[in-house]
Symmetry: C2
Subunit: 285 residues, 2 copies
């Protein structure tokens, strides 16, 4: 049951994710007009130059008035404010989605402010990379990735089908997820790992270590600590409850480990590491 | 000032590191006889088959009686017991080293039991991998790696020169380090990362996450959680003091982060992630 994709697509925020989406739609001939919105003129100019967008609108509301489908590709903390502007534009047929790494805050806000059946459907495409900005946009960014798409009782089924079709059309596999299920899981598979890797990297930085003292283990384990602070600050601020809970779990695990180490309990130290190995395999199998 | 390498080398423990050392020496024609010692007959048979050792001795003491240079390549927790046996063999000319990832406990034990000037010199070749056992031994394992070699006042300079020459001859770069400097640094660049990655992997395993919810960040960050529990248990048990201190530092960092998150302090959350990024760059630069 393939849904025809709307012709006029607005992309608010033309960073790596937004620009890559525009390029992917253009490369496949899937949108006749892509309207970009952004705070920085330089980014919009670049997005136009690389062909990720066809035109620029002065505001999310202006873009919403012209578009059939609007994608909010701003940092996570700005999504709800953009949605408020978009909603105020009065385009009742507009379908909207986002690309933020957290879903509970955003989807709850949309559920309480958009009219039902809701035509904003949250998305979390699991794509990206160390590079950012429209100049690094790639039409194949979403190919072979997973896009988590909101599943909620108040959604308009047609809008949801269009959003699923959007991601599938650029090569992603859509997986349905409830926002209240999404955020606690992502806290533990993504947000907590970032926080913890950052803590470890800071501690190593203070230890007097040089590259002569590190192997690939440290390099791989802390790679995500080399991400953009403002992105992770926003993600963490929009997933506070689940992240704080996962930090409490970490605290408990590490205190348990320290107690076993003090006691010299070899068997239970084995079990500690074994449980980590099993946890990783369970997630990745 | 190249030191001639001894002809008769004993390797106690023919796992990945021990077997690779034997293969590397044989491939370069650097030892006329390599004597293997091990607890498991199957491993010794494999080491003989792949050509990592030429003969088998029944005990570390027996090997020490026949050898000029003895390398203890057992798990970290067994090194001091092997050194006690070796010392009892009465070969006063014997030079010995090890390959353990922790140095304080082992070198302190040697300093208090071996006669001065000490001919046991601790080593920590930073090589290895996910595979283990003599069947995965490779003559090029040490090429391009760093080997940290003990620097202490009571060492016999000739013995130390031979041990340095051993590692350089198989392609490693020798870096001198005091044991009391080695362990606190390695706690933070290697042992703490393993413990923390293991905790995160266990927590993710309990979260209901599947591979659909993880990206490369999680995969890379927890890769070291897929190591052998018994190896990391031993490493942690032989580096208790520094590891407990680094766990306390982690605890402090994570509690600080949680407080900033509760307060919604965006600027300081930025600074938290920025410090992680800087720490990583400082270590790896």
């Amino acid at each position: 049951m393939s849904q025809p994709l709307p012709n006029r697509v607005a992309i608010v925020g033309v960073g790596l994710l937004g620009a890559s989406l525009g390029l992917a739609l253009k490369a496949r001939g899937l949108a006749t007009q892509i309207i970009g919105v952004g705070r920085r003129k330089a980014s919009l100019d670049t997005a136009l130059e690389v062909g990720a967008i066809d035109s620029v609108a002065p505001s999310p509301a202006a873009a919403a008035a012209e578009a059939d489908l609007l994608v909010v590709a701003t940092p996570a903390a700005l999504v709800t404010a953009v949605l408020d502007e978009v909603r105020g534009a009065g385009n009742v047929n507009l379908i909207a989605t986002d690309v933020a790494s957290t879903k509970s805050t955003i989807c709850r806000h949309a559920a309480s402010t958009w009219t039902a059946p809701r035509r904003f459907v949250g998305s979390h495409p699991m794509a990206g990379g160390e590079k950012f900005g429209p100049e690094h946009g790639r039409p194949e960014l979403y190919e072979g990735t997973v896009c988590l798409v909101e599943e909620s009782a108040d959604l308009d089924p047609e809008a949801r089908a269009v959003v699923c079709q959007l991601w599938e059309s650029v090569g992603a596999r859509v997986v349905s997820v409830r926002p209240e299920q999404h955020d606690p899981i992502l806290a533990r598979t993504s947000h907590l790992p970032h926080v913890v890797a950052s803590a470890v990297a800071a501690i190593a930085g203070d230890s007097g270590a040089s590259r002569l003292f590190v192997g690939n283990g440290f390099r791989d384990m802390t790679r995500i600590a080399d991400s953009r602070p403002e992105v992770w600050r926003d993600i963490c601020l929009t997933n506070r409850t689940a992240l704080l809970q996962s930090l409490a779990e970490t605290d408990a695990r590490l205190h348990e480990f320290a107690a076993l180490l003090v006691a010299g309990d070899a068997a239970r130290l084995d079990a500690f590491f074994e449980r980590g190995r099993e946890g990783r395999r369970k997630v990745l199998e």
